[in-house]
């Protein structure tokens, strides 16, 4: 290990904050996202403590509004959307395609600075007194009635949006132009297909959010009536524009997770992903159809019944490619040589939790049931199963899988498995009771509730405590391993992907010689000509 890797080329702060190395930028993002995750998590903790009893005993209703808004804004825009793309994606995409960097390395660094600027503006809004509109900024409350820092928070989200766009643009161009010789589209690992689909959504949906927030902030600042019905504006137009971004954004928050799961399931079953082309095209199908379902957030808003019927139908359609993926992962497991390493435990947890999230989504796509479930804990449980049970679990899985590549160290398998199991149980204990609460009619966004709901709320808060501990654990054992862990070989999982063919951690420009690809991905059956393993 005498040769320098990307971590040891230079140790100055300047070399980190002015780096254009995609791997170092991924680390910058990683550190920032850990911070935001715990800020959002702190708000969630306060919410769950408050909800342990039916009365208001921790916070007032006004503070509670600010807590769940802060939780939503931070978790959606400053954790989930950048999570896998900007950390794992940034690190792995060039390695997976055999490139020496992303297409636009300086743009990549700029996107981190833009992200941090947006984050700081949003944190300022929170510290100055918070926002009470919910993460959706619905008008006319946000424009006419709210006495909180709406414009500042919207500005933070607006700025962070540019970071999303720049990242998406960089990935699209990189995947088109910088693939290694021989790496055709159908030889791309499925993680890249997912990230490509995600990037298309980032580039096409985010600007609509930008213009929507701009219109909302203009109305609030100048006191004009863009969405104000008293002078002819239409508050529903805001919802349409907002969800035109925010429903595709839901797929920004799950597609990268699905991509990671392909890699994990295949590696730890030692098998090709079943139905590669179906899975690849399903990512794009989800991205495309995902643009046509936003109206299912507005079934009770008073939109026309015809519109609701169409959106309901489309919402069922968009479940098809997701279901194909789940079936293909289980088919990949079938007769595989399954290894229960920590990343695989996360992957299996993902499949289970995502399935529950997806099926509850079908309930909500039904017009008749949705009228009952709208704005109840059923919805809260549904999207947490997708975003936390799905995306966050996949994020942890991917993090463990690529950790040896990123840090060059091996983590404690024992602690990693313990954390994975705890996350699975903690998560279900937190959110399954919320499905029941929602079905029984407990509305979301209230800090007091009738006493008959207390049993389920106590269970949920107890689960949240377990989940909090489980989410803190990787901070310790992964943090420890980064400095004191066993040295990792180049290819600890014996996997055929290009990222494993270079040393761990990779050198500054990833590959000593330009790799050439001659086969399909996931060839676990044949012995691929592995590089000589580091002793």
């Amino acid at each position: 290990m005498s040769e320098k890797n990307y971590l040891t080329t230079d140790f100055t702060l300047r070399s980190w904050f002015l780096t254009t190395d995609h791997k170092r930028i991924a680390i910058l993002y990683f550190a920032s996202l850990i911070f935001f995750f715990f800020v959002g998590g702190a708000a969630a903790t306060a919410i769950r403590i408050e909800l342990a009893t039916p009365q208001a005993d921790l916070v007032s209703s006004d503070v509670y509004n600010r807590l769940f808004t802060m939780h939503g804004i931070i978790m959606v825009w400053f954790f989930l959307i950048p999570s896998i793309p900007n950390t794992l994606g940034n690190f792995i995409v060039p390695l997976m395609i055999g490139a020496r960097d992303l297409a636009f390395p300086r743009l990549n660094l700029m996107s981190w600075y833009v992200f941090m600027l947006g984050g700081c503006v949003t944190l300022f809004a929170i510290l100055a007194g918070g926002i009470d509109t919910g993460w959706t900024f619905y008008t006319p409350f946000s424009t006419l009635y709210s006495n909180s820092y709406v414009i500042v928070a919207a500005a933070g989200v607006f700025i962070a949006g540019f970071s999303s766009i720049l990242t998406g643009l960089n990935f699209i161009v990189t995947i088109h132009r910088l693939r290694a010789p021989g790496l055709t589209w159908y030889r791309l690992p499925l993680f890249l297909w997912s990230l490509y689909a995600t990037s298309v959504i980032l580039v096409l949906a985010t600007p609509v959010l930008a213009i929507t927030l701009l219109l909302m902030a203009t109305e609030r600042f100048f006191g004009v009536g863009i969405f104000d019905p008293r002078i002819g504006g239409d508050p529903l137009l805001f919802q349409h524009l907002f969800w035109f971004y925010s429903h595709p954004a839901v797929y920004i928050m799950i597609l990268p997770g699905m991509g990671v799961i392909n890699e994990l399931v295949s590696c730890f079953s030692r098998k090709e992903v079943f139905g590669y082309k179906f899975v690849a095209w399903c990512s794009l199908a989800i991205a495309a159809v995902g643009f046509l379902v936003w109206g299912h957030h507005m079934f009770v808003s008073g939109q026309s019944l015809v519109a609701s019927l169409v959106f309901s139908f489309m919402s069922f359609i968009v479940a098809v490619p997701s279901a194909i993926k789940v079936f293909n992962w289980t088919a990949t497991l079938h007769k595989g040589s399954i290894h229960f390493d920590a990343p695989m435990l996360y992957a299996l947890a993902f499949i289970g939790l995502f399935t529950i999230g997806g099926l509850t989504g079908l309930f909500l796509a039904c017009l008749a049931y949705d009228v009952h479930a709208t704005d109840t804990y059923f919805v809260v449980a549904h999207f947490h199963y997708i975003m936390v049970g799905g995306m966050v679990t996949a994020y942890f899985g991917g993090l463990h899988y690529w950790w040896p590549k990123i840090t060059g160290r091996l983590y404690s398998e024992y602690w990693a498995r313990t954390a994975a199991v705890l996350i699975f149980f903690g998560f279900n204990l937190t959110f399954f009771p919320q499905i029941i609460l929602g079905a029984e009619g407990m509305p979301r966004r209230y800090h007091v509730y009738p006493p008959e709901f207390q049993v389920w709320n106590v269970l949920s808060s107890g689960g949240a405590a377990i989940l909090a501990v489980a989410y803190l654990m990787p901070l310790f054992y992964l943090g420890y391993s980064a400095f004191f862990g066993k040295r990792a070989p180049a290819n600890p999982w014996d996997a055929p992907g290009l990222e494993w063919q270079t040393s761990s951690p990779p050198p500054e420009f990833n590959f000593e010689t330009q790799p050439v690809v001659t086969r399909e991905p996931y060839q676990y059956n044949e012995r691929f000509e592995a590089e000589p393993q580091n002793a």
């Binding site: 020496r100 390395p105 930008a210 219109l215 203009t218 009536g225």
Partner: protein, 214 residues
């Protein structure tokens, strides 16, 4: 860097770099289309709801200035296209002047726009600042002018960025014009033409409704 070549390490060759940069600009334009697309959608929804008000609002815009600005912008785009077409180290002087000319026309556009804004301010047509309009169409007219100001202001911001790009390229061309700036020029030209195309849409949406009736 491992090898001291003209291109950054992630590219195999100069053409590879140039094609990649150009694709980057196209993707960026795609994102811009959706930015203006959202705004134009909102405009169309309200125009559908208030056809009379929007026609009345449109009749209060300065169609002479709007038309003149359209001509100015199209001419400026033509100069940029010309510069791209003849670009080579030998023609750097002409290219520089073409770019300066295009940037100056951009500034003329901004100046005319400012003139137009001040006229609307005098007529009390600026929502949120001094809007006054009597009659049953007031709501529609106000919505029209809200969109008028937001759309033209965002467009003007894009113009200013484009003018900055053109001037930067003119300076580069004057100092040291080499083949490698062709892609930079080409990408900036794409952006400039895009801003131009947006204006064509805005022109039709802002100045033309309600002109045939009164």
């Amino acid at each position: 860097m491992p090898e001291s070549s003209a291109v950054a390490p992630q590219y195999a060759s100069i053409p590879h770099r140039d094609h990649t940069a150009e694709l980057g600009m196209w993707v960026f334009i795609a994102t811009e289309v959706l930015l203006f697309g959202g705004l134009i959608l909102a405009y169309l929804v309200y125009r559908h709801a208030f056809p009379q008000g929007f026609a009345a609002g449109s009749r209060h815009t300065e169609i002479v200035i709007g038309t003149a600005n359209t001509a100015v912008l199209l001419t400026s785009s033509f100069l940029v296209a010309w510069a791209v077409e003849i670009f080579s180290p030998a023609t750097s002087k002409i290219v520089t002047w073409l770019l300066v000319g295009a940037a100056c026309l951009g500034l003329v556009f901004i100046a005319l726009k400012a003139l137009e804004y001040s006229g609307e301010y005098d007529e009390h047509l600026v929502p949120g600042i001094n809007f006054q309009f009597a009659g049953p169409k007031a709501n529609g007219v106000q919505l029209f002018f809200i969109f008028y100001f937001i759309a033209t202001a965002i467009h003007a911001l894009h113009m200013l960025i484009g003018i900055g790009l053109l001037i930067t390229l003119a300076i580069i061309c004057r100092r040291a014009s080499t083949k490698r700036h062709h892609t930079a020029l080409h990408s900036a030209a794409l952006y400039w033409h895009f801003v131009d195309v947006v204006w064509i849409f805005l022109f039709a949406l802002i100045y033309l409704p309600g002109r045939s009736t009164s």
